[in-house]
Symmetry: D2
Subunit: 345 residues, 4 copies
């Protein structure tokens, strides 16, 4: 049994982690911490969990977790994570961090986008937890930077195409759409029901913090600097994410080569589903699963490739991938605790 | 391993059954039948199931199921069920019928509300599968009439109060609200997106077919004829059901007696959650679970009791209760395969 | 031209008033005030109004309005209204107050529900602005307490039935459902998108502040104390309100008498639509209009009368009725500026 | 008074036209025709219109309209329009057709996308009714092909940029998103509530019929063949449309030139709103208006221009633009009957 703790359990990602670990046959939930709700039962925050979980939220304290916990999930805002992670590692507790604090290879990029880093040596040690791409490194890691939701939806289809040199690294565009849960549980006018309901539009055009995270990984794959044009949009649904990605194929590349590459990379991956020609992903197909669906269309005359990917932003885009990372780190079957479709309709 | 078949698997209740059985550790899915989709893969109907289920829909034929199947779930329209059920029983296959065909004690009531019954002897044999109320009969049954969603939401809180003679059997009102999935997958203007979205209102006022089903069970509990005023409403959400029930307490009854009764009946029931004072059920708390939440408020001066119950119409109101019935019939732990919260937000 | 000002224009009711007055052929908008947005253009708050309204929000100052404004709409929280209203009246500006501050006949009831009243003499003078019921008093009023949304939806159908002694004043129940805009624009977890979306449930069971407002008016109509059981519910839509009301008819009363009474009271009222038998109101039918739709069903055996009413909570339940009150006070055609259906679907 | 008829009034576009004409101060509605609802009151189809419109649907007959009607709006499926239009013109009735039948310059393109044209000479005569672009031709036209919703949202921002040679005609991409009302009122599984609600995804990738309509107009503007990559997506809201368009600027072009061009073309246009830098369109800002909002961002290094436009698919994308065309054809103020914001939230 892998003993786990969820640090910062009161947000939506925390809730997902609680559910996943509660149902996980080879992991147990030893502690949930929350600063704002300390001393409260977890079911006071989320009444849906009445009868399924009886833990009380405690304040964070690495020492009390010591010895009782093998791995901690950090569902915290960035900046808080980088303060907590070293304390946990010092107690011999592995860390899977869902903030941005341990996602970057390059310290300068991180600091340009976020703020000064207080644990730069851990940034160097940490592994970017995109499971299907970095499995071998994850297996040996003490600390994982769990990928952002938008990056996951874009990198899973794009890394193979760049690595295999099937598309041009120039002129990439991702027009991405996210459900509202991606904005978390903190109150704001942009997530106030009457403002979001029956609305749709782009936000943070040209300056979303996920762009440098995406570009760093794409550039490594392409072996040259890649600068993706990224425009996120907010869809008035609770969960789900779709990225419609536009790329230019390299000369001579045809549809079969694209399909073959996807199959080579992903046909044995339980959570990647390559759709047949003429079929495209939809939020409703992946909601409640840890899957990433990928479909594509090649415009024959223009050489324009349209790749569509879909994930559940709270699962494959956050808590699901975090549990998948745990499974890899502890050498158990990667599908354990993730092998179902939760949301029926 | 309990070997099951789902007859009429292409509707929303069928989908729920497929998911529940696919995840059930002590049951296997041997066949899915569908007339409209025969020869098609189940994942062609529901792409969310890609990678999780590989069955192909076959036409219904009781003989081919013989020997391979212990129990069949009938997710069929009424009238079709009463034709299929005898064929299955003849092959030694137990039947859990989700239509109205085997729910009534009284043949005349059934025939007044629906149509002539072609298997009246089975109607007599069948057990009304309200698990928490009729567990002992269910245990021995060959054929179950799985309760309707509205009846489940009303009977679970009302049967104890009537049996314990805490409320008057006169003047009962249930103002009930259902998500749209209750109307099924058949196309109609009333479930066309632009007609339902951002709308709300009552329907079938004074003539919903669930009223006689409810009254029959309430009358048995009260040992006198009960005639509930029932007004269903359609809420523009996919899943969930809330019933706000108004009753008059009998003289001298106080809040504590109500609470005690609920606890006596339900405190060891894993799927009934009696809420503390001042807390009320909400669709968001029960969605994706097999639970029925019950909360109540007693107006001290008027003696008016307000009871609120909530269920997931597709789970405790249909497929979840059907699986719970199967677990009872086959003497396994009643929670098996139902012990989680599916939909996180 | 009636010169108007909207005091507290930044909330949803304020927005509705701005739109109604902007389109009103016999009224002009001279000022919009807002404390939180002073100095900002109204279109910075509501970009939908770009090109349609160019006013800048000013802080409230009764003296600067003096001479330029005939009537002020107060779209303020209660307690603030009672401070501002006397200052406006002193400048000869009529007041239509949309808070609860001037709705009650009885000072003690107000103070029990809200707080000490600082302008009790105005409470006495003010007229409860339920247009179809109190038109003659409204015509002569200097200050109007504009009715709450729930009270409007309940009083319009119930006052005639009580006045005409067709129903018993005992045992009245209103099971009411509101869209989320009724909760306003202030941030709270209960109106956070992911908490409300795909949810449904009751709130403030047994203690909603609209209950005493409703009971006061019902008691006057019934000429005896009436104590309605009122249970509000939140529907995940932006606008609209439906009340399903349960009453007991008096002995000997039949359906025709009910229908005749409604027609006698309302057949010449442009904003009350009595539906034919078998038809019931729905949010989608009244959204964007100043109408109140009323339908009913009488259960023949039990004498239980089910009355369903629907209004747009922001129009007939707030800004629309406020403008109708203005039209009455200034002796212009009551339909002016309200004679359309705004929201097409 | 312009006397109008609406042919095919029972669909959503028909409803919008009925509302617009009912509120239009210089136009009257003389007839509404519907094959499926002939003999029925319009309010039987749309109960929201009770009290606002009393017409009864008649079958289509050009001769009975003769003399009573100046202009007919055809809210019909393509193929039906081309049969009805000549009959109306023969009676001296002008035609504004909302189907695709009279939108194309090139007969061959039309026939390749749709079917053989039975009135090719009228196709030649008809004017593509994109008001802000073709106003002078519209003024003199007998028959208008009212633009599609997607084309309107893309052409309004793109025609000026191509005409002014600010962007490259190669490599244009429009990632467009539409509310569900664009799919009309005909029943289908893709617009069934439970299938659309809480979903999001692309459809008709690479083969939507609006693509050739868009390309024809863009090619004229660019004076060379333009082949836009067009991917439409379905958003689970009733109304609204957003197009996020990606283009490459020509060498040396800067942001100011783009902004200046938009202002030159549109600053006096009442229905085009160019947003300031850093602000982007949203469905909630244009819903219920005849406006097209346009915002943009230029990536300095890559020269990638991101243009976002938003319209109400049923108004500027259909019925609103049709009425604007009527206003132009009959030489009245173009804003008449369109000068408001309907939907408040």
């Amino acid at each position: 049994m892998i003993k786990t703790a969820i640090i910062g359990a009161s947000g939506y990602t925390g809730l997902e982690l609680v559910k996943l670990i509660s149902n996980h046959p080879k992991a147990s939930l030893e502690a949930v911490t929350s600063n704002s709700y300390q001393g409260k039962s977890f079911t006071d925050i989320y009444p849906s969990m009445r009868g399924f979980e009886s833990l009380v939220c405690t304040p964070f304290d690495a020492k009390t977790l010591s010895g009782n916990v093998d791995v901690a999930f950090l569902a915290l805002p960035h900046k808080v994570s980088m303060a907590f992670a070293p304390q946990l590692l010092d107690q011999g507790i592995k860390v899977i961090d869902l903030s941005a604090d341990f996602r970057f290879e390059d310290l300068k990029t991180y600091e340009a986008v976020y703020q000064p880093h207080t644990a730069p040596e851990l940034l160097e040690e940490s592994v970017y937890g995109l499971c299907e791409i970095s499995r071998e490194k994850i297996r040996k890691a003490r600390i994982i930077g769990n990928p952002g939701c938008y990056p996951t939806s874009i990198l899973l289809p794009m890394v193979p195409l760049l690595k295999e040199k099937l598309i041009s690294p120039q002129g990439l565009v991702s027009d991405s759409k996210s459900g509202v849960s991606g904005a978390g549980r903190a109150l704001s006018l942009t997530t106030h029901f009457c403002e979001v309901n029956e609305s749709f539009g782009p936000y943070k055009v040209g300056n979303h913090r996920h762009t440098p995270e995406i570009n760093e990984v794409l550039s490594i794959a392409a072996e040259q600097a890649v600068s993706l044009t990224f425009v996120p949009h907010l869809v008035p649904v609770t969960r789900g994410m779709v990225s419609t990605i536009y790329a230019q194929i390299r000369k001579g590349v045809d549809e079969k080569q694209i399909r073959d590459a996807f199959h080579r990379w992903y046909e044995n991956e339980p959570f990647i589903r390559i759709l047949p020609g003429g079929k495209y992903p939809n939020m409703s197909h992946i909601k409640g699963t840890n899957c990433c669906d990928i479909g594509f269309h090649l415009e024959p005359d223009s050489g324009r490739l349209i790749v569509v990917s879909a994930i559940d932003n709270l699962l494959k885009g956050a808590a699901g991938q975090a549990v998948q990372n745990m499974n890899i780190m502890f050498s158990i079957d990667e599908k354990t605790g993730l092998d179902w479709v939760q949301t029926p309709l």
